[in-house]
Amino acid sequence: MTDTADVTDQEDLANGTGRLETTAVNQVVIRFAGDSGDGMQLTGDRFTSASAMAGNDLATLPEFPAEIRAPQGTLAGVSAFQVHISDHEIYTPGDQPDVLIAMNPAALMSELGRVRSGGTLILNTDAFDQRNFDKCGYEVDPRTDGTLDGFIVHEVPMTKLTVVATSEIDVKKRDAERAKNFFALGLICWMYSRPTAPTLDWIEAKFSANEAVLEANTVAFKAGHAFGETTEMFADRYEVAAAPYEAGTYTNITGNTATSWGMIAAGQLAKLPVFLGSYPITPASDILHELSRHKNFGVRTFQAEDEIAAAGAALGAAFGGHLAFTTTSGPGVALKGETIGLATSIELPLVIIDVQRGGPSTGLPTKTEASDLMLALYGRHGESPIPVVAAHSPSNCFYMAIEACRIALKYRTPVILLTDGYLANGAEPWKLPDVDSLPDISVSFTTELNAQGPDGSPAFHPYLRDEETLARPWAIPGTAGLEHRIGGLEKADGSGDVSYDPGNHSHMTDLRQAKIDGIAKDIPAAEFSSNGEADTLIVGWGSTHGSITAARELLKNEGVSTAHLHLTHLAPMATNVAEVIGNYANVVVPELNKGQLVKVLRAQYLVDAKGVSKMEGLPFTGRELAAAVQEIRNNQEALS
């Protein structure tokens, strides 16, 4: 695909020798939906990349079933990818799609309810036959019974057009048909004036091993683009201008990739080899995959026999002086609890990353939820306080991974980093940091004796703490003279010898708590903003940041000013939380759980905070959150 004729084609496509003038729009929400086998995630991902390259701000919401291949054509098999692109800063993947691409009737049935009234539907009519209607439960063709009234409907025989377009290529019919998602991508890229080069380059790199498929996908993409250009079906073509970003180099990043890169960066910043013990689990496995690709950073990945071994191996590596991680989702955290307890007792750095998903039990493995907060804060036996931090956007996962490591290393403690399925798979543009600006998080191993034995001779006391941080020495095997034994039994303060002394246990329990509490002095203030004289404070944590920001904009447009306090550090909390939280008549805490942070805030700060809960496996939309805040404000007014 590198001959000159094709290069010319590409330029023509990119320049859009336009039949139509483009209409500028500020933003658009597009939802790609089809069967699990239709390649909708990939299509959405490619559209996102092209939009990122065009300089738009964007947010994405991939949604796919837990089954790899549910029965074809059924509702259970529908896989969707929503992307919100704009010429200004946006915070969520969009409340309601403006455009729905439905590759089959099941996708239409499943997704139609989300589309805004008057929105555009692009249907792959080749899949609209009785057999497929039966599979998803349409009794009659939805195109004929008024179901689609009020929408702009484009019927495009994508499969047939793709097969025809690829007829000159020596490709199996099945592969030709499978290229129809690239036809759809080409059409949407035309409609929204996306540059074509990024997609064509990507296809060429991705399918270089299979010339026929490469060619079929390229031709299908171009055919889709040309179809938009030449048929008169589409009366409008849109342009979403670049968003006004700060100067810099940008990349499009998902939360799981950002987390992975943050872990690698932390190893570099700590000047320690990285060890990851992990066991495959959705939606965290991508972190294991990504780290496995970067062994040249001195990263060792260990796919363990189970979640417990994954945590255990990481703790063993930490004893050996590595920066140790274990990555998982909620069910895995439950299994790792005993190991986290041991790490709390032996006071070694260990970073546990929980990519939260819907629970309990297997729950909703591919859907998001933020319901492991209590598990992270309290889900261990005994008094075992540990720091808990949470990322608030896909790119923020990078910085929070480094922050989790900083705390773990400095205070010799396990730290839980919470992300979630929405952050993990969602994408956003990220202004890349200057690597020299990242913090030095290195710590020193202890190499010298630090105490005196009972006979007055020099000795090593593994539990003699740093006065400021209360961290204990980290003396690793291989250090002559500091041989010592640690374990899960209670240890005497200082010497670390096994101790069953009642007073000592009480004292050590207090010390372990004081060490964690003291970290509050060493973390940044919680992000706070207020957009006017506000009577309402919204306190968020984790991935609700974007939804809260979007809701506040809507409220502001209605004349309601609000304040927003967002927590990245859940244990301990920043000291400004106490200062801010008492200043508002209403404290609203939106969470993708049944009210976990709100319980903690009420207990810790004695405020009458009100929770807003959503348990649908989906993030809050700005609209529903704005409505919930208004309701709480109105109820409060009615009372007073």
Binding site: M53, N296, E305, G320, P477, E483, R485, G487
Partner: protein, 341 residues
């Protein structure tokens, strides 16, 4: 008087300052002594030696060795030690646990450490009982065992420890017992020399909750007739006059009188066979504590060691891509430049 704590050839050099808290008369004392004496003969440094244990009586072992040590979680020692051995291939990592620790709650970790062939020396103190929790039956207790939790007798079928190790593909499998320090030292030494996962079962007497269970095999007076000494390359013969031996029939090992079957029928022990079936068959020779039982090295084969494989891949990646460059990593996806607002 010389200070024994400064001389590596003295037991005291390898003895920590902690009081040993096993019950008086426990077989664990003998095992600890054998280990400390072995170290007086090995050319190793205590700072490069780590003992990792789970939970149970045996798991207190690391506290008593003047080396690095980690007393961890019930069953998890092989997993934790795996992480340490992979992170730090320069260390000698020993794992100590009992039959409940390693075959019940930690069975999964044991078999996977063995299968991966991680460079761990795994010592399983088998006393066929839960001692620390005061006397419940274990996964190696015999059927019918009456304990506090099985007043009507255990109905569980016990594991063959050697069979489990062979089934997991362990590259080194041996058995010794707590009454013979010399034998223990030689088996531990061979395990230490082995590159990869070395599994050593130690018949260990719990004199409080399961006293004398191995007496019919390991007491000095019966050893000649009951202990079968496995020697690589030699016929498996035993008895005061070497009048008995082991034959393999239909894939099964059984004891026979040489007079009945002829010397040529007696199997020649081959611990170096890649296929673990001989070790497995010998492991199942005796299913009780009253029959002739093999001791020594069942299997010792050279196969790829896990941590070395992990580190080889790191070296290869470094050679192929050069050392990691963080700035290059961050720009490894598609990027674009924004100039000014």
């Amino acid at each position: 008087m010389t200070d024994v704590t400064l001389d590596p050839t003295k037991r005291g050099y390898w003895t920590s300052d902690q009081d040993v808290r096993w019950c008086p008369g426990c077989g664990d004392y003998g095992i600890l002594a054998a280990m400390q004496f072995l170290f007086t003969e090995l050319d190793v440094k205590r700072e490069n030696t780590v003992f990792v244990s789970g939970i149970g009586c045996a798991a207190r072992f690391p506290y008593y060795m003047e080396t690095y040590g980690m007393h961890t979680i019930h069953g998890r020692a092989p997993a934790i030690a795996t992480g340490l051995a992979v992170a730090r291939p320069d260390l000698d990592v020993w794992v100590v646990g009992g039959d409940g620790d390693m075959l019940s709650i930690g069975g999964n970790h044991l078999i996977h450490a063995l299968r991966r062939n991680v460079n761990l020396k795994i010592l399983l103190f088998n006393n066929q009982i839960y001692g620390l929790t005061k006397g419940q039956y274990s996964p190696t207790s015999e059927v019918g065992k009456v304990t506090k939790s099985t007043p009507a007798g255990s109905i569980d079928h016990p594991f063959s420890t050697i069979g489990v190790a062979a089934g997991a593909g362990a590259s080194f499998i041996a058995r010794t017992h707590d009454l013979d320090r010399k034998h223990m030292i030689e088996v531990f030494r061979a395990a230490h020399q082995h590159k990869g996962a070395a599994f050593v079962e130690i018949y260990q007497n719990c004199n409080v909750f399961n006293d004398g269970i191995y007496d019919a095999i390991v007491k000095r007076s019966v050893r000649d007739e009951m202990m079968i000494d496995l020697v690589h390359g030699e016929r498996i013969l035993f008895g005061a006059q070497k009048q008995r031996g082991v034959v393999i029939e239909n894939g099964e090992a059984r004891v026979a009188d040489v007079a009945d079957v002829g010397l040529d029928a007696i199997v020649v022990h081959d611990s170096g066979r890649l296929n673990p079936s001989l070790a497995f068959a010998l492991g199942h020779l005796s299913n009780d504590n009253m029959s002739p039982t093999p001791f020594g090295i069942f299997r010792s084969v050279a196969i790829a060691e896990y941590a070395e494989g992990v580190n080889d891949q790191l070296l290869a990646a470094n050679e192929a891509s050069g050392p990691g460059d963080l700035a290059a990593l961050l720009t490894s996806g598609a990027t674009w430049e924004v100039t000014g607002r």
